[in-house]
Homo-oligomer: 216 residues x 2
DNA sequence: TGGCATTTGTTCCTATTTTCACAAAGTATA
DNA sequence: TATACTTTGTGAAAATAGGAACAAATGCCA
């Protein structure tokens, strides 16, 4: 498969670049907390296991943010990255499947830092429907299309069993969802104007096992 | 950073290959359930968004498993992949931090398919220590080194707050842990004989937001 | 048995990604 | 102001990954 490439105004870069921008932002925020005003590409990437040239090139796709001989102004770069990533405005998301994982996510406060707000959740289990977790009401999955459309939600997490994940995906997309973070261990099929990101824990563990099993 | 490359007996391939092997295995198991005996590289990769040539090349690093004109015998390839990945024997793992995420993982049965067994869990919270979740006793994190060494555990998950994750990592490594799946949003530093894999949900969400925000 | 259809394993080529290396720009010091 | 450092931004080179294409096997059927 061709690696998905992103092109904005004739400038092309890979999704890897975008992932790294998130990592830069995370560390820049830590630096800001420590009241550090300026940081060089060298210093910031020492913490991250990424080369300084990579850092500079990643940023160069979006503009010139540094000052030669000095480095990057931490607060300014944070603002710029938030803008580039698009988290300078609020993103309301949905969660489908409020089981063990889904309810952990509903209770997690850490997303608010990125302006991500879980607005609604869906389940099929009558015992769960109507309950409120962390201020989020669990809706009947039967109302999925209606609620997603009404709330104009564009992004959803899938935390259902894998058997139903494709069906849920189809329904989400038909209701207007354009991005899905999928926790179910299944490769979802979607039109190519819908973005999917998979978190596959078993896959990650198997990779570690492979490495342990084959090391010298 | 150089992409980590894996070399076994003069044959080199990337970690991406290993991740894809996990995906192949997952789909092969589904085929086996449906009693399908043979599958071609063409058919299996249609489900996966990977090119047939990639599939064949990935396998070719480890041997010849197909039959020309026929395809791959599903059951046989499953066995081979389990062997290659190293999940033909049991892997006992530990979980550090039994909060919302950690307890969801303790209750998750899905890892057993991969011969992964959560053997022990640790927390610092007195209210949690001693409790048993899904047959797994929560130990005092003070006993981390002792228990890990005694049980000869080599793989651990970190589900603690990010502030303590590096300290926990250092202790795990000194106790003999060689692979870590990290859920805390922080870049862990380890010697290069220790393998780290990160699951960073915020990062994945930001990537989706970037894509939604920039699409035409 | 021979011809046709299918599919693998692998080579070679192409595309993408990462790193190198250096001019340009800025700082510091005297 | 001149000189010695720093550090960025970026084109060019190197390293990696992905894919097309084809010979070599295998099966099927007349
Ligand atoms: N729990 C973990 O630690 C873990 C780890 C790795 C992967 N996963 C994956 O994440 C997903 C969720 O895991 P979990 O442990 O939370 O499972 P779970 O069984 O605890 O929760 C699943 C939830 O989905 C709901 N559901 C089922 N069908 C539905 C439908 N059609 N519409 C809406 N809701 C529906 C169920 O009622 C339940 O509340 C699974 O695909 C699992 O494989 C979980
Ligand atoms: N919950 C989620 O949905 C979610 C999503 C993304 C990332 N994460 C990350 O996963 C990690 C865990 O998240 P959570 O929501 O389960 O948090 P949590 O606060 O519910 O759980 C953390 C657990 O770690 C324990 N702990 C704290 N210090 C410890 C120490 N020194 N040794 C051992 N245990 C210790 C706490 O007692 C608690 O039980 C965090 O780093 C979080 O950022 C969580």
């Amino acid at each position: 498969m061709p690696k998905s490439k992103i092109c904005i105004r004739k400038i092309c870069f890979s999704v890897e670049t975008v992932k790294r921008l998130s990592l830069y932002l995370r560390d820049l925020r830590k630096l800001a907390k420590k009241k550090i005003q300026f940081i060089s590409s060298n210093k910031i990437t020492q913490l991250l296991n990424i080369s300084p040239a990579q850092f500079r090139k990643d940023l160069s796709y979006f503009g010139e943010f540094g000052k030669r001989g000095v480095g990057y102004e931490v607060e300014k770069l944070i603002k710029k990255l938030e803008e580039i990533l698009g988290i300078n405005k609020e993103w309301r998301i949905a969660v489908v499947g409020v089981g063990r994982l889904g309810s952990a996510l509903l209770r997690f406060e850490g997303f608010s830092k990125f302006n991500i707000k879980i607005k609604t959740a869906f389940d099929i289990d009558k015992k769960k429907i109507g309950k409120v977790i962390n201020g989020i009401k669990i809706e009947d999955v039967g109302n999925l299309e209606r609620v997603i459309k009404k709330e104009k939600i564009k992004l959803s997490l899938i935390c259902t069993p894998p058997q139903v994940a494709q069906d849920i995906t189809n329904r989400l997309v038909s209701a207007g969802i354009r991005g899905i973070l999928n926790f179910a261990p299944v490769a979802l099929k979607v039109a190519n104007n819908v973005f999917i990101s998979n978190v596959d824990m078993a896959c990650e563990l198997e990779q570690l096992i492979f490495l342990l099993n084959n090391e010298r």
